[in-house]
Symmetry: C2
Subunit: 64 residues, 2 copies
C-alpha cells in the first residue's frame, strides 16, 4: 500500500494530522483527507509539499 502520513507544518514544525492517507480532495476552502479505511478529516489547509517515497504529505494553513 502506498499511503502516506499527513502533517501540518506550522512555525517550521510538522505535526502529524492523519496516518495512512489515501485520498486528499478539495472541500469548500479546505481539504478532505481520507485514510485507507475511509476515515475522513476535514482541514482548512492546502498541500504544500509531497515526499512520497518518505510517505509524507505536508499541509499548510491558507495564507488568508
Amino acid at each position: 500500500m502506498c499511503e502516506a502520513n499527513a502533517y501540518l507544518r506550522q512555525s517550521g514544525k510538522d505535526e502529524l494530522l492523519l496516518e495512512m492517507v489515501d485520498k486528499v480532495l478539495p472541500h469548500e476552502d479546505g481539504l478532505v483527507l481520507e485514510d485507507i479505511f475511509g476515515r475522513r478529516k476535514i482541514i482548512k489547509a492546502k498541500i504544500a509539499e509531497l515526499a512520497l517515497v518518505d510517505h509524507k504529505i505536508i499541509l499548510e494553513k491558507e495564507d488568508n
Copy 2:
C-alpha cells in the same frame, strides 16, 4: 516504491505530466515535480487532488 504519476487536469481530462514522481515542492508561483531518478519538471500549477493508493497526483493550473 511509493511514487505516483502526476497528471494535469484540464477541461475535465487528465493528461500525464510525469511518471514515478517522488517529490512535489513549491517553486515561485508553481511547483517542482521530481521523479525517483531526480529528474525535475517545473510547472505553474497547484495540487488539486491525491489518490495515493491509485498512484495519482492531480494538478490544476492556477486560477489567476
